[in-house]
């Protein structure tokens, strides 16, 4: 009796979550990195919350971007190293389902975690509570888009020596529009002006990427597997 695509998706997500939670130290690393990087900015720039508030959206977003990138390298690397990626590629479900499941699970464990941690960081940077919903929504959309861009980059660089540096080099230019709109939305929320325009644009970017990136990431992995 064959297995449907949705069932396969759920199974792969369970596999990824199972693997992630068995290594809790690796699970927490991006989150800790996020907290550390956001701490660097006040220490380096200014200790006053009122001044930090102006820079807070940008600081938050750059920190979120860098933390996500740190963990993206491992999206396919472990499976490629021990040979299980080939087994997944030959399971009969098509590589796209596998890629979507792995990327989604990865986002749950990194991006979603960052979104949940953002109020803590936001408070430390002087962002008012009224801006939190917009901030979290923009971070949620942004990290999801970034996971997808990262999946393409990770698919291309898996198995390369110093692939993580190249991964950043590839993904960051593509992620710059995200940064502009995400930080822009949070900035507007802080100053009280409507952030809907920036959020819509961010959502559009997210939908665009989530629709096309799976196919690009699948092609990238096929190139790597050869």
């Amino acid at each position: 009796m064959s297995v449907g695509a949705l069932e396969a998706f759920a199974l792969v997500v369970r596999r990824e979550l199972c693997l992630s939670f068995r290594r809790p130290d690796q699970l927490l690393q991006p989150l800790v990195f996020f907290l550390i990087v956001t701490t660097l900015f006040p220490l380096g720039l200014s200790l006053q919350l009122s001044l930090l508030r102006d820079m807070a959206p940008g600081v938050l977003w750059v920190a979120a971007l860098l933390s996500s990138l740190l963990s993206l390298d491992s999206l396919f690397k472990s499976d490629a190293d021990d040979g299980t990626l080939e087994q997944l590629a030959l399971c009969g479900q098509g590589l796209t389902v596998i890629v979507v499941a792995k990327t989604f699970a990865h986002w749950l464990v990194t991006g979603a975690a960052l979104v949940l941690a953002s109020p803590v960081v936001g408070t430390a940077l002087g962002i008012p509570g009224s801006a939190f919903p917009t901030m979290m929504l923009s971070l949620g959309l942004g990290t999801l888009t970034l996971s997808w861009l990262g999946a393409i980059g990770a698919g291309l660089t898996v198995g390369l020596k110093r692939g993580n540096v190249l991964l950043s080099l590839i993904v960051l230019p593509l992620a710059m529009p995200l940064l502009i709109f995400g930080a822009g939305a949070t900035d507007r929320a802080i100053s009280g002006t409507p952030a809907a325009g920036a959020l819509y644009f961010l959502a559009a970017l997210c939908v665009f990427t989530c629709t096309l990136a799976p196919f690009a990431a699948t092609v990238a992995l096929r190139i790597t597997l050869e």
Partner: protein, 209 residues
């Protein structure tokens, strides 16, 4: 014409790796109840050939067909009918043997934990079912990988050096499994650099530089 309408056909496949012409017009057929032993010295392209047959590697020239059709056009059906074991056992160290099987086989067909334990039993590693793969020895991991092949209930077995790290008992076990698989109507392509002692009609393909 080299088209095996009831099995696997490989026609004049050429593969280059950089400047090396690794596979130079290799052809083969494999029908049910047949075992093909692919041998050759190091670097002769045995693993490359196996990966081309799996569909992981697209050849520059030539084609691979399953049941008369090109494997790229019947990808899902072909993958459902095959079980591939690579040179490494391909197990996740953090998952138990049983979980490794479940996440691999469960993508191909619905399978119960009982069936998976039975497969592990047949390869002699039932005791390892709930141990994480990283604590298993190399021989035990090879047996778990073989159990995965068994559990997939595939008609075509594509095995790359399945006897690596196995002791005499393990070698006999795998030979026995291959024999019963072929006798029950399956086909197997085995890459091995040494001689095989299996009591079925065996053909040999020797790859050379």
């Amino acid at each position: 014409m080299n088209m095996a309408v009831d099995g696997l056909g490989v026609e004049k496949v050429h593969v280059w790796r950089g400047d090396r012409h690794v596979l130079q017009g290799v052809s083969l057929t494999l029908r049910p109840r047949e075992l093909l032993h692919v041998s050759g010295p190091n670097g002769s392209g045995k693993t490359t050939l196996l990966r081309v047959v799996c569909g992981l590697l697209r050849p520059e020239q030539g084609r691979v067909s399953w049941l008369g059709q090109s494997i790229s056009s019947v990808r899902a059906e072909y993958q459902a009918a095959l079980a591939y074991a690579s040179h490494e056992p391909a197990l996740k160290g953090d998952l138990t043997a049983l979980e490794n099987l479940r996440f691999a086989v469960g993508l191909k067909r619905r399978v119960s934990a009982g069936e998976l334990r039975a497969s592990l039993e047949r390869t002699g590693v039932a005791a390892c079912a709930d141990l994480p793969a990283r604590v298993l020895s190399a021989g035990q991991r090879r047996r778990v990988a073989m159990a995965r092949v068994l559990a997939m209930s595939a008609s075509l077995w594509l095995l790359d050096e399945p006897f690596t790290n196995l002791d005499a008992a393990g070698t006999n076990l795998v030979s026995g499994l291959l024999q019963s698989h072929v006798e029950q109507g399956g086909a197997a392509l085995v890459v091995a650099h040494h001689d095989l002692k299996i009591a079925v009609a065996m053909r040999r393909l020797e790859l050379g530089p």
